[in-house]
Symmetry: C2
Subunit: 405 residues, 2 copies
């Protein structure tokens, strides 16, 4: 098919190194908690793999909770309180104390809640929303809608430009913790501090960081945050997103989507709205229970796993991948968009190359699953819970072969 | 325990009549499509029963589609197009041609989309939203938020007051097709016509009518509609709601939640928003696939079932229930809140009685499941797909016994 681009001794050395790294990996046994096959699955930053115990759990939810208990499950199976219970399970993964997160709705809907509520908490005369110009597009679209409905102006700036863009008029800044395309990790502590120094509120989108690295929401005084749960949290396709509202701000959180689930007495069926205290006020309508409880079950793979250990392994994996890519692909075939500095790297590697769409198709055909981002980016996500160094070496080797074709 | 309130010959006569009615019921075999037990389940207007084939379908979705195909399922298992495919499956049940409904989000979120978009389509100077004062509360709370964000005023009126409340300033009217508490069916054709005659738009909430009676969205020119799918559509706990936008209005549908799923080129990842054509523009973020596909599977119980037949049986069931309640409970023990006229009756019977909460608990303990609505209402929902006349007689008989205690 193709000439190997690294010498055979070099390949043997990398494979041996991978075995050594896998043998020393304390997280290696966690892989057994997932239903995996021989594929090297490097797309957990798009859809996390299936935790092995989830199918039986879902069978119970469907057959017994819905099928037998039916309506009684709202109380007896804990359906009604699932959004806040799951929020509290996510909380330690993003550095939040309990009572500040609820699960539910999509990330887009939660961005809307967070931004509109933030503009309502902003000081007098603060009528500008700053949004990450490099964001996953939906955040920008929703920010535009929030600005339009609240009479604010909207300005798109890169995270690097945020400090100089902040001013007396800034109400809120919406930023991504990790850029979905390049895998660049932004400096949440210092950007949050700069935003606060200007008197504005910070809203962070954690879709590409939660479950892959420490976030420290409470420690860094983040005001509001949103995130999805189907990437590094492995909650299942389209599993519910979540909303974090810092406890001090909760009394002033004034939702643009005040559905009955956020009422202080939802079953009182009062015609007038009175918000529940705490994180509950981020709820809206009846939650998607099947998706919600699959997510709750999936979060059990985190039992006994520390985010610090995950972060250490994530950096070791991406370091090793970059080294292997360099060895196997040779110079000039790919351009790495992901920062080399650990402080600026999430848990994915983005490589720009010619014909990226075609290259990714061939990789997938050969059992290495990453994804393609228009127009020329190969994305490889590293989920330390189930990705090993051997997988990583194999992926880089096959990529090198395909690039050499 | 208690004296029977109907004579034994009378009870025997009603039981015999129930058997005759069940024997003549063309829909009786449809009950086999559900996982049911000996309980008389009259709470399908809150959570529909489990269709028997759904557990196996969900096992496949979880184990194979998520667990084995993983990310490929977005294309290969049709995940991406589920919202509009499911919308088209719901369409005939509510009298809509294809291409006008998308499934996704909660009812509350869809009410928000519909109301804000409607105010944007309303004529010059039309800045008042009318909302059903008797509505399920969430619609009112969301309407208040929509009014606040769009600079409109909000006025709560009963459906009966709508014609006289309409005027040059009316932008949109949000009405419930069936009152969740009393089971009263409102006159959708004539109210929609009155709303249109005044130059306003009509938004209907179909939560308590879809799947229980003909709606005729297209026939009656309804502008926008929303509904849940976990009641008479049996989609599962908190299953996704849906949004209908009449095809002629779609080009002007300007969503307040323009998430990336509603973009004309969602994978182009453009920083600027351009809405998809058609019903797709009602989508927002990534759909909850597990809940979505359970709903899709559940809708198969409708194969070969006509809504007209369901409506005919529904009226026969509620007529028979009211007759049995009258015979078994005697005069004065309960007050029926549901209209006697077929033209004004949905598919539930609401009875007001003393100690309603306690009475319902005792009914449930005896295998008759309805629900209690604060402060004094017993609600019994009749799902013609799986409720028979024998069930109905038994429920009324046990109710009579409990009321006589």
């Amino acid at each position: 098919m193709s000439e190997p681009t690294a010498s055979a001794p070099k390949a043997a050395e990398l494979a041996a190194l991978a075995r050594t790294l896998d043998a020393a990996d304390d997280l290696a046994p966690v892989r057994e908690r997932f239903a995996l096959d021989d594929v090297v699955y490097l797309d957990g930053n798009s859809l996390g793999a299936l935790p092995a115990h989830v199918p039986d759990r879902m069978a119970d939810v469907v057959r017994r909770q819905w099928g037998e208990l039916r309506i009684r499950s709202w109380a007896e199976s804990g359906w009604w309180t699932a959004p806040e219970r799951i929020g509290d399970r996510i909380a330690p993964l993003v550095g939040a104390a309990p009572g500040q997160i609820v699960a539910g709705d999509s990330t887009s809907v939660n961005v809307f809640k967070a931004l509109v509520a933030a503009t309502r908490m902003a000081g007098e005369g603060r009528t500008e929303i700053l949004v990450d110009a490099t964001t996953f597009p939906t955040d920008g679209y929703i920010a535009e809608s929030a600005a339009r409905l609240t009479g604010c102006t909207l300005r798109a700036v890169t995270p690097q430009e945020v400090p100089s863009a902040l001013g007396d008029r800034t109400a809120v800044v919406l930023l991504n913790h990790v850029d979905y395309r390049t895998g660049r990790l932004h400096d949440l502590p210092s950007l949050t501090a700069a935003i606060h120094a200007s008197g504005a509120l910070a809203v962070w989108d954690l879709c590409h960081s939660a479950g892959a690295l420490p976030v420290g929401l409470d420690e860094h005084g983040v005001d509001l945050a949103v995130g999805c749960t189907y990437k590094y949290l492995n909650g299942g396709p389209g599993s519910p997103a979540y909303l974090y509202v810092r406890s001090e701000l909760q009394p002033r959180f004034d939702s643009p989507l005040p559905g009955w689930n956020s009422h202080q007495d939802p079953f009182g069926m009062s015609p007038s709205y009175a918000p529940a205290p705490g994180a509950l006020r981020g709820r809206v309508g009846t939650p998607d229970i099947l998706s919600m409880l699959a997510l709750e079950a999936a979060l059990e793979v985190w039992d006994g796993v520390s985010v610090a250990a995950v972060r250490a392994k994530s950096l070791a994996l991406t370091d090793f991948f970059l080294r292997c890519v360099s060895e196997y692909s040779g110079p000039g075939r790919v351009q790495c968009l992901t920062p080399d500095s650990h402080a600026e790297r999430g848990s994915q590697v983005a490589l720009r190359c010619a014909d990226a769409g075609e290259v990714m198709k061939r990789l997938i055909a050969r059992g290495v699953v990453g994804d393609f981002r228009h127009p020329d980016v190969l994305r490889f996500g590293f989920t330390p819970l189930y990705t090993g160094f051997g997988d990583t070496e194999r992926a880089a080797r096959i990529l090198g072969e395909e690039l050499a074709r």
